[in-house]
């Protein structure tokens, strides 16, 4: 005869293992979700870094254009003025030196504290259940069951009560076709083991579910951060276009300004006769200065407030 408690104990144990297994799968999935998200973020940031490097080179080249225009073209006009006995206030204009991209650091995945709390509670619960289960089962059997002889076990005492209880747990005495006391001892251990496994399994299940949610939240925040990073890449490309525009305008104005200065310098200057030439050069120099002063990005409106990746220009 199969011991009466074996099947339910196996079901309880199997239930605990299944739930615990699901919890472990959730925990592994959580780790995987978090690692994948971090990897994708690293790739996105690396890609942004590549775009920034190219943009940086373009900005530096434009900075050289600004420097050249400031020193050679505007400086040449200032020299001409000083050579013609005029006071000159030479402004020290800022030269753009690069762009910086500030990507906010990604949040860290934290579940250690809560994990430890739940784990400890579950561990104590499992130990408590194991301790309680054996005592409770023995009490129930010795109180309500009958020995193989038909005598109520509650009426026995000492070794007889022990033997009868174990024999009952083992499915009856060996003589009656049961597992006897040895099987009863095994079942007694199972009684201690099964609820512990169930509660431990449920605890792991809870831990796994919580951890998976945290990982999903972490991955979501990272995915949003990645979108911001991709927006920053698009904006860096726009900054390149803006620099190309400024370079084109500056170089055309510088070419016109240099030609105008060439003509002005060729003259034995007479304000009445060559006033138009001077005005022409002065207008161009003023326009060049204004373009040099123009920021590459717009500090007031260039950064939408809800975009967390900041792009700012640097000056030498």
């Amino acid at each position: 005869m199969v011991a009466p408690l074996v099947v339910p104990l196996l079901i309880v144990t199997a239930g605990g293992l299944v739930v615990g297994g699901k919890g472990l799968v959730d925990k592994f999935q959580a780790r995987s979700i978090a690692v994948d998200a971090k990897t994708r973020h690293d790739v996105a940031v690396s890609s942004l870094s590549d775009v920034q490097s190219v943009t940086q080179e373009i900005v530096e080249e434009y900075g050289l254009n600004q420097l050249h225009a400031q020193r050679d073209t505007i400086g040449r006009f200032a020299d001409w003025l000083e050579n013609h006995s005029h006071l000159v206030n030479r402004l020290d204009r800022r030269i753009v030196d690069g762009v910086q991209v500030h990507v906010p650091s990604i949040p860290k995945l934290k579940f250690e504290v809560e994990q430890a709390r739940i784990g400890l509670a579950g561990g104590f619960g499992a130990l408590g259940a194991a301790a309680s289960a054996q005592g409770a089962a023995l009490w129930g059997v010795s109180t309500f069951a009958a020995a193989g002889t038909g005598t109520a076990i509650s009426g026995l005492s000492g070794v007889a009560a022990t033997n009868a209880t174990l024999a009952w747990l083992g499915g009856g005495t060996l003589a009656a076709g049961g597992g006897g006391m040895a099987a009863g001892a095994v079942v007694l251990n199972m009684i201690m083991f099964a609820p512990g496994v169930l509660i431990a399994g449920l605890t792991v299940g809870v831990l796994g579910a919580v951890e998976k949610t945290k990982a999903v939240k972490y991955a979501s925040e990272i995915n949003i951060s990645i979108e911001h990073v991709e927006t920053a890449s698009a904006r860096l490309l726009a900054v390149r276009t803006r620099i190309t525009e400024l370079r084109t305008v500056l170089s055309r104005l510088v070419a016109l300004g240099e030609a105008s200065l060439d003509e002005l310098e060729r003259q034995d200057f007479d304000p009445d006769e060559h006033g138009r030439l001077f005005l022409n050069a002065y207008q161009l120099i003023t326009a060049i200065a204004e373009v040099i002063d123009t920021p590459v990005t717009d500090p007031e409106t260039g950064d939408p407030t809800d975009i967390s990746v900041k792009i700012v220009e640097k000056y030498s």
């Binding site: 010795s142 007694l188 609820p195 998976k212 999903v216």
Partner: protein, 148 residues
């Protein structure tokens, strides 16, 4: 006997003296066990259901956030493309006008055109970026009449 080493001494079990409430220690064990198991199962069910719901909510939140960011980016890119194209064409026309004015030695027109060139260069193509969210919101409303 070797089996006596493996078999626990349980001779006193089931014989625990009743306490003041008339409940034996092993009855308490049974109550404790039932409470622990039921509490653990209840917690597991609640946590698993709650966490599943939270994960769905998080994914919906993420999708909404990403949709908004992507919409803003699309408007940004499209808007900048159009802006830069328009500015490029305007610069081309202004420089042609400047060439003409300089050839004609018309200082006044040259001055005006240079001022326009400098103003256009100074005006940031990014100036409307701060309004992207507003434009996106207006587009989403669908109730606004766009005058064109």
């Amino acid at each position: 006997m070797t089996s006596s080493k493996r078999i626990p001494d349980i001779t006193s079990l089931g014989k625990v003296a009743p306490d003041r409430l008339g409940v034996s220690g092993n009855q308490l064990y049974l109550g404790q066990l039932a409470t622990q198991v039921i509490t653990a199962i209840d917690t597991w069910v609640k946590v698993v259901q709650g966490e599943t719901t939270r994960r769905v909510e998080i994914r919906v939140w993420e999708a909404t956030q990403r949709e908004s960011i992507i919409a803003q980016r699309d408007v940004l890119i499209k808007g900048l493309d159009l802006t830069f194209d328009e500015r490029r064409e305007t610069f081309r026309r202004l420089f042609n006008s400047l060439d003409d004015a300089m050839k004609a030695e018309d200082a006044q027109i040259a001055s005006d055109v240079l001022e326009k060139i400098a103003d256009l260069a100074k005006s940031s193509p990014f100036k409307d970026l701060g309004n992207v969210q507003f434009v996106v919101d207006e587009l989403k409303k669908g109730e606004r009449t766009w005058t064109v």
